[in-house]
Symmetry: C2
Subunit: 339 residues, 2 copies
């Protein structure tokens, strides 16, 4: 496999090096063509390396960055005042070509603002978007935007469709991924003006446009890619997180209600565990910042090292599949078509 270098912002997320470093170690061990640059406060990063009984090597370099972007910092402030942050230094490595991709579990707004400023947006893309992957009854589906853009024009929604189709094509090797537009009904007359115009653009785009889909189609797996503005996408994602947590909590409560209920569920434990594994959201960790010159992946802030590893592997896959170039080509094709 092709050699890939990933810059890891070790300081980001709720847990920092404690999670990011062990996860990076597991990743280099599992993939002999992967090198990682661990970016962060060198004491903290080296400490985490030492705690794991490891040291720097050719494929595992530590790069000191003296500042840290906090989770609640305003994106513009982080961009202006934290030029030596682990996040910024990691993104700089992608810009300079020393790394192919960057991953961070840090402040999403700051990561997007900094990536956009440093790496620049691909020609033909007005606004980068955040694309995630969700489990469905049939497999998995890609959804964007998940929160980078609260107001979107029809043209931007079309561009999300292009980026989403490129993402599904690259990661799931689908030739012509089906693209659905998230709406409140399947009929053409449904939705607001923006969505109606976006449907027309998508229909004329040459993408494999399925038409409107509704919220329940996300988990039905009706399409490979779901396009929506970042407000709606973010609400849908977080609503799902909340519902899954509530259902999990209620199931646990029922099981643990009395010694009798506990006992009666003992023999069912393997089935429950298998169910839990099959819906484990950690396997879907990692959102892609799409539409940039370079691969940037955002891990959930609360990710543990198992979850962070999935996001890290996502970054590697995106590099190996040439995702950024694929998006650039698709945009160009469309622009030539429209000209």
């Amino acid at each position: 496999m092709s050699k890939v270098v990933v810059a890891v912002d070790c300081m980001g997320g709720d847990h920092g090096p404690e999670v990011t470093v062990p996860s990076a170690l597991a990743a280099v061990d599992a993939d002999s063509d992967l090198s990682i640059v661990l970016v962060g406060l060198s004491d903290a990063v080296s400490g985490a390396l030492k705690a794991a009984g490891r040291k720097e090597s050719e494929r595992l370099r530590v790069l000191h960055a003296p500042e840290v972007v906090t989770m609640d910092e305003a994106p513009a402030g982080a961009l202006r005042n934290k030029k030596k942050s682990s996040m910024r230094v990691a993104i700089n490595l992608v810009k300079s070509g020393e790394a192919h991709a960057c991953i961070s579990a840090g402040n999403t707004g700051a990561l997007m603002a900094t990536s956009r400023f440093v790496l620049k947006t691909l020609s033909g893309i007005e606004r980068p978007a955040i694309g995630g992957v969700l489990p469905t009854m049939k497999g998995r589906t890609y959804m964007l935007d998940l929160g980078a853009n609260v107001d979107c024009t029809p043209m931007q929604l079309l561009q999300f469709g292009i980026m989403g189709a490129s993402l599904a094509g690259a990661l799931d090797h689908i030739d012509s991924p089906s693209v659905g537009l998230l709406n409140i009904g399947v009929e053409d007359i449904k939705g607001n003006d923006t969505v109606k115009q976006a449907a027309e653009l998508l229909r004329a785009s040459g993408l494999n446009f399925y038409g409107n889909v509704e919220g329940d189609d996300i988990y039905k797996g009706t399409v490979d890619v779901i396009v929506c503005d970042g407000f709606v996408g973010n609400v849908a994602l977080k609503t799902s997180e909340g519902l899954a947590q509530m259902l999990g909590g209620m199931l646990r409560r029922e099981v643990e209600r009395t010694w009798l209920t506990r006992l009666s569920c003992l023999s069912a434990l393997p089935v429950m565990k298998s169910f839990k594994r099959s819906v484990d959201h950690r396997r879907y960790n990692g959102a892609s910042l799409l539409g940039l010159h370079g691969v940037v992946v955002k891990s959930h802030g609360s990710a543990d090292s198992f979850a962070f590893g999935f996001a890290l592997r996502r970054a590697v896959e995106e590099v190996r599949s040439g995702l950024s170039a694929r998006i650039g080509e698709r945009v160009n094709e469309l622009q030539r078509g429209a000209a």
Copy 2:
């Protein structure tokens, strides 16, 4: 308890009289102060009555309506061309004062358009909204709008807050229900301009405004009432339906995978059933059309008679709690406050 008359659109929904009539029978049997007018094609309605071994009585009247609004009919078409539909006739009974409330499992758009045309919107309310109730980790929460209004002004979102607070106050007897504004972050700077301005209006309104909430707060039960535009609300609701279905399906699949997994889960069946009951969405069936002169409740189209009964009881509760008047008063208070 006070006497209540409910007009039931027997023809609406996926199942029609087969579901609506038995459900109405159970409701009158359980509440001696409730009378029901069964509106629909008299043959079909009388047939369903007969099948249940019952006949008309003082508290159970059949009213013939020769037309039926179909589920996929355009609201404007239904309003113009189906003046003798069961839906329209049922709403007319509320207008004339012969019924206190109307319930239908039929076409949502047609129900809203017809209710608005016949009953008129309360003074001070620009647009009626659809309010639903959802289970949470702490109890339940009311959410609106769930799909009537795809684009909303800040003022309309404020009015949704007033209506939602009235609904929670009326049904759950909460003195000053907390109201949250659905957004993509809790900080004031998050969201689009509409949401930011709505937050300012809500903060100055005298309502118990909690501030911004995120998608996962819906099921955490962070607030009593969640306000959002109908596009976002509809997507959040349907996404939840889809996720719950997927998780239920996956759990079933794990249990039924082999004879061994089935066997190992046998003793856990009571716990699983208890869990299923505690998350049974049928208990939350019934969305309220709010902001009208009169009570109108929409049942899910696919509701069975158990679910339809919950929506029917909701209508009765709304009448007994004087919901429409409560909303009117709150709007007036606010207008006086602003003047």
